[in-house]
């Protein structure tokens, strides 16, 4: 029996990004937004599918990254796929690699296309962080089972008396998710760690954050996201057109007044120089060459599978460095041939640390096994040129897909050739992808 898939393609057969679309990223402002994660995925997917020359039936697979779907959104990829009107026979599945879940979805899609399993895949990431649930503490759950068993008035009273008020406090699962499970450090603390290692001061961080804000403000004003973002229509009659993380008129003075959030009182990482907790969704349509020809599509660009790397969880912010290292090595890409870089801005300190590490001979030698010379310096005017997660927001799983989509639009706009998108991953990993214009 021949078990070799006759469709198998060469490992390096091109995978095209046909088109992509995302919602504006919504800030949380302390309360849940009116959209669930699936609502966001549907809102981003509907206009994307609508503007394609083919019917939703053509899609052969749906892959969606999501870290915290609502309890009624089990396998959220399938929920979104059906709500988008994809064929019921089209398989859909959800992937999770924490902050890189969106990039994981793209990576898997690329590999499945190169493996000959699918010709046309809808892949992306979604997160509704404002909807992260509150949980009961295990002790309270234990108490409740006792309460339910208590039949007599006396038993009930006894049970009631045994309840400690402290146990009534809910567990905020979002905070749990943003804490490294092996070291107990919060994500912000890992950024403090990097600031310490690379001697990054508060001013550099705030400057970086301000640049992110200013770049987003200019990009919005110039309408650079028009092809990328679809307006969100809330059912209470509101329209949201732009990313809400922009603070117009930010200045260094305001930023420098903010108090540290994670390490008080002497820490450096503030709400102003960290990525914002946001909700959002981003989809990309990926296709092989045959499908592009058959459906007469005009692709935006090409992407490679992602390169993944692991590192010390306490320094998870340097994940992009390790991922980029293996990416450039694997695809034999000269550092200087990269026109634009998108490194997801979890924290200003973290992105600055990445640029330092790439340019640091010691770090490159010991941590990356690159003995000849360091990779080099990423020019600030080539990095996150239209703003990043600090201003735009970081709906965890959506970010990996967003930076790839934006990079492709950027290459097209600037008529340049090659870009790298990289993202750090809580738990101590990094992911990076190569994007090329066609």
């Amino acid at each position: 029996m021949n078990i070799i898939n006759k469709n198998t393609k060469a490992k390096d057969s091109p995978v095209y990004v046909v088109d992509g679309c995302r919602t504006p990223f919504l800030t949380t402002r302390g309360q849940a937004n009116p959209f669930s994660a699936a609502d966001l995925a549907v809102a981003a997917g509907r206009p994307l599918l609508l503007r394609q020359p083919f019917a939703a039936d053509e899609i052969e697979e749906v892959i969606l990254g999501c870290v915290i779907p609502a309890p009624d959104e089990v396998n959220i990829a399938r929920v979104a796929s059906l709500r988008l009107g994809c064929n019921i026979k089209t398989p859909a599945w959800t992937v999770q690699r924490n902050c890189a879940s969106g990039m994981q979805a793209l990576d898997t899609a690329v590999r499945n296309i190169q493996g000959g399993h699918s010709g046309l895949i809808l892949a992306g990431g979604v997160e509704a962080m404002s909807r992260a649930p509150l949980q009961w503490r295990p002790k309270l759950v234990e108490w409740m089972s006792g309460w339910l068993k208590a039949r007599s008035l006396k038993a009930k009273l006894q049970s009631l008396a045994s309840l400690s008020i402290k146990e009534l406090r809910p567990v905020i699962t979002l905070l749990k998710g943003l804490t490294d499970p092996s070291t107990g450090l919060s994500m912000g603390q890992t950024a403090e760690e990097l600031a310490y290692e690379f001697a990054i001061d508060r001013h550099a961080m705030d400057q970086f954050a301000l640049a992110s804000q200013n770049r987003l403000e200019k990009a919005q004003k110039d309408g650079l996201f028009n092809e990328e973002i679809t307006p969100l229509f809330s059912h209470d009659g509101a329209v949201i057109k732009d990313d809400q993380g922009l603070h117009p008129g930010s200045n260094i003075k305001k930023l420098s007044k903010l108090k540290p959030v994670f390490d008080r009182p002497t820490g450096l990482v503030t709400a102003g120089n960290s990525a914002q907790i946001t909700d959002g969704a981003c989809w990309l349509l990926l296709a092989d060459e045959a499908t592009v020809k058959r459906l007469n599509l005009k692709p935006l660009g090409k992407i490679t599978p992602a390169s993944w790397a692991g590192l010390n969880p306490a320094q998870m912010g340097l994940g992009p460095v390790h991922a980029i290292d293996s990416l450039l090595k694997e695809y034999k890409t000269p550092f200087d041939s990269v026109d634009y870089w998108e490194i997801n801005e979890a924290f200003a300190a973290q992105v600055i640390a990445c640029t330092h590490a790439m340019d640091n001979p010691e770090y490159c030698k010991h941590e990356l096994d690159k003995k000849d010379k360091p990779w080099g310096r990423i020019a600030p005017d080539r990095l996150n040129v239209d703003g990043g997660a600090i201003s735009i927001g970081h709906p965890v799983s959506a970010s990996g897909a967003r930076i790839v989509l934006h990079l492709l639009h950027l290459l097209k706009r600037t008529k340049t050739k090659r870009g790298v998108a990289a993202i750090c991953i809580g738990g101590g990993q990094g992911g990076a992808m190569l994007a090329e214009a066609v």
Binding site: L50, R83, G85, F233, H235
Partner: protein, 722 residues
């Protein structure tokens, strides 16, 4: 089901029925009426049922289950077409009496009987189910149980008015019969009309278990019978009548009043006699004009729906341009009814407002959040208009401006996919004018909705000079697909509905201008049987809108726009939306009128309004706006709410006689001017046919006032109107 239950033998089989025995010795009695999509209890279906019963008894089953062999539902009711054949009370009585022993036969079977109900179970169908010991309903949205007979001007005649109160209690039963409303499976369970509500997978097990255990069949509780207790019964009847008279006056809608009479009079009467009384009462109603008119409207309404069936492709995608009140509401309604709708507007806020209104509507229509979510997901904002290329129907609903419409449609036309049609929701602009910018005017049609879209059942499918038959069909298909009734009308100012309404509204305004109070004018119209008076209607529609439609219609100069209307518009009193029109409005609620509210209506006030209306109706018919009198009448009733018991304006004309009307109009012309000049079309109307019917009718019926119209004569093509 991939594997059918094993049935051992078939002791009876006829054209429409069969009886199968299963291994538990349960008889499965299946109705599957040949040549009909729904099960209907026509004469021969009932005759076969009578023949079936002896074989069923002879099979000595452990129990019997009545069920449907059709997916569409259980039984839709009696055959309404047969009703129209009754010429005399005696005929009707004899025919219905035949059913009584059959149904009593089922009731008296000495083994347990169950009605297994999936889908609709209405009228005679529910009355049959009431004869069984138990009823089990499938938990489906399509499952509807009810006795809708009053909507046809009659009441249940197969024992329903007797059996239903015994099962669910007096007041609950009266409510169901008087309103004619149908209940969902869950609601039916709640009031005790069905014993169990289960999904399909549990139906046969539930039915089998009921037969096996045969618990005492349900009956109404003592407290539910309280309303029928001595002394109480007559006062309950008094209050019910009083309440009913306000909604449906006895003179106009006798059927529900007859139901109360029957109920009140049965206090000391044997059951068999109660059945007799029910039959006598319904036989009398049958030959009355209200029932004849309502039945005719129902059948014509079904005919209208048929116009939109059997198309080549089922329309699935709609693209709407313009998210105003009309465009938005059309989009929402269509999305709720299964269409994938793309909604385009340059103003994003308008789209957002539409979504908000849509959600509100969907929440009224259903409580199932999955249905609501699916409908919202199908309603897609489409600012760039990508949906045009994918739509089966592209509908323009932007503001009423010829040039804007021409430009928009011409831009969209080349993007249409093969087989798609281009449509406009214009209410006043001639199709031929808009079509001037198009390369393929044959694919262009008007699809004219009325406000509010979710409540108005009629849609005018406006046919331009160059609109092809295929496109008309596609327009009708689309209309039926979204559960609206299509009425093809010829393009012309105001089409049918607005054109007929306008002279009537103007006459109402004229009466106010002459000193009658808006209240008096509105009340006169309501007494005639209109759902809303003309002055209130103008307020609701908006005075500015009426004025602009008036100006478009007024090309002939015949209908003078009342100066009072212009005066109020100039002062920005535009009606309900601005808080003041002919009436004042506080938080959307109508208050007192702005003019002298004591002004009396002149003696000919009501006549003047309806004379204006019928004169314009004849003009429309004569101009060939609609060339089928029955469809015209049904359209006017569906589109304007014209007193349904009168059967529509043409039926109304026929009842009084064409000559009488011409005389009346001529008299009005003398006193009030040219606007009452009888349209030349009156002369082409076939008087002889009408007189002929009256005469024949008079000979054969024992009721002077019942005049079923010979529609065949009426539908004779009129020369020169096509």
């Amino acid at each position: 089901m991939y594997i059918q239950t094993y049935l051992t033998k078939t002791p009876y089989q006829s054209q429409h029925w069969r009886v199968d025995m299963d291994e538990n010795n349960i008889a499965w009695v299946t109705i599957d009426v040949v040549g009909s999509s729904a099960n209907i209890l026509s004469g021969d279906v009932l005759e076969e049922l009578a023949k079936l019963l002896p074989s069923l008894v002879a099979a000595k089953p452990a129990g019997a289950v009545f069920r449907s062999g059709k997916k569409s539902g259980f039984i839709a009711g009696a055959d309404i077409k047969e009703f129209t054949q009754f010429k005399t009370v005696a005929q009707a009585r004899d025919r219905i009496r035949k059913v009584r022993p059959i149904f009593m036969g089922i009731e008296e079977l000495d083994f347990p009987t169950v009605a297994q109900i999936s889908g609709f179970c209405l009228g005679g169908g529910l009355e049959l189910a009431l004869c069984c010991d138990y009823r089990v309903a499938e938990d489906l949205p399509a499952t509807k149980l009810g006795l809708p007979e009053v909507k046809l001007g009659i009441h249940p005649g197969f024992g329903g008015t007797v059996r239903l109160p015994r099962l669910v209690g007096e007041l609950t039963a009266l409510d169901m019969i008087l309103t004619g409303k149908s209940l969902s499976a869950k609601k039916a369970k709640k009031i005790g009309l069905v014993d169990w509500v289960v999904p399909a997978r549990h139906l046969s097990r539930t039915v089998t278990a009921l037969i096996d255990k045969h618990p005492t069949p349900r009956k109404s509780k003592a407290i539910q019978r309280l309303a029928a207790a001595p002394f109480i019964r007559s006062s309950v009847a008094y209050f019910l009548r009083k309440k009913l008279e306000k909604k449906a006056p006895k003179a106009q809608y006798p059927a529900p009043h007859a139901v109360i009479d029957l109920w009140q009079d049965r206090e000391f009467i044997e059951t068999w006699e109660q059945y007799d009384q029910e039959i006598d009462s319904i036989a009398n109603l049958f030959v009355g004009s209200t029932a004849q008119n309502l039945i005719s409207l129902f059948l014509q309404g079904e005919r209208m729906k048929e116009l939109g069936k059997g198309g080549k492709v089922k329309p699935q995608r709609l693209h709407v341009v313009g998210a105003g009140v009309m465009g938005g509401d059309i989009a929402a309604w269509c999305a709720f009814n299964g269409m994938t709708v793309t909604l385009q507007d340059t103003n994003q806020t308008m789209i957002a407002n539409t979504l908000q209104r849509a959600l509100k509507l969907f929440k009224i229509k259903t409580r199932d959040r999955h249905i609501i979510q699916a409908a919202m997901d199908r309603l897609i904002p489409d600012i760039a208009g990508y949906g045009v290329k994918k739509a089966d129907v592209v509908l323009e609903a932007i503001f009423e401006n010829l040039e804007a419409k021409q430009k928009l449609l011409a831009a969209m036309e080349p993007q249409l996919k093969p087989g798609a049609i281009l449509a406009t929701n214009t209410s006043s602009i001639r199709l031929e004018d808009i079509a001037k910018s198009l390369k393929n005017p044959d694919k262009f049609v008007g699809i004219h909705f009325f406000n509010p879209v979710s409540r108005m059942p009629l849609v005018e499918v406006v046919v331009g000079e160059k609109t092809s038959q295929e496109t008309i069909k596609a327009g009708c298909n689309f209309t039926t697909a979204i559960r609206r009734s299509p009425l093809p009308v010829k393009s012309g100012p105001g089409f049918l509905i607005n054109r007929i309404l306008m002279p009537y509204l103007f006459e109402g305004i004229q009466l106010v201008a002459e000193g009658a109070s808006p209240e008096a004018v509105d009340n006169a119209a309501k007494e005639f049987g209109m759902p809303m008076g003309p002055i209130t209607l103008v307020d609701v529609v908006g005075l500015d809108i009426c004025l602009s439609v008036a100006k478009i219609l007024d090309t002939s100069g015949k209908h003078v726009v009342p100066p009072l209307l212009q005066h109020l518009v100039d002062r920005h009193h535009l009606g309900k939306k601005t808080g003041q029109g002919f009436y004042r409005y506080v938080k959307g609620k109508q208050g007192k009128s702005i003019t002298n509210s004591h002004g009396n209506l002149p003696n000919d006030g009501s006549l003047r309004m309806f004379a204006a209306l019928v004169n314009e109706t004849v003009a429309c018919f004569s101009d060939g706006v609609v060339d089928d009198i029955d469809l015209l009448d049904t359209g006017v009733v569906f589109g304007t709410g014209f007193a349904p018991f009168r059967g529509g304006p043409m039926h109304y004309i026929a009842k009084e006689g064409v000559d009488t009307w011409i005389t009346k109009l001529e008299a009005l012309q003398q006193t009030h001017g040219e606007r009452f000049t009888p349209h030349p079309g009156w002369k082409i109307l076939d008087f002889s046919a009408v007189n002929f019917v009256e005469e024949r009718d008079h000979e054969k019926t024992d009721f002077r006032h019942n005049t079923p119209m010979a529609r065949k004569h009426f539908m004779r093509p009129v020369p020169g109107t096509h």
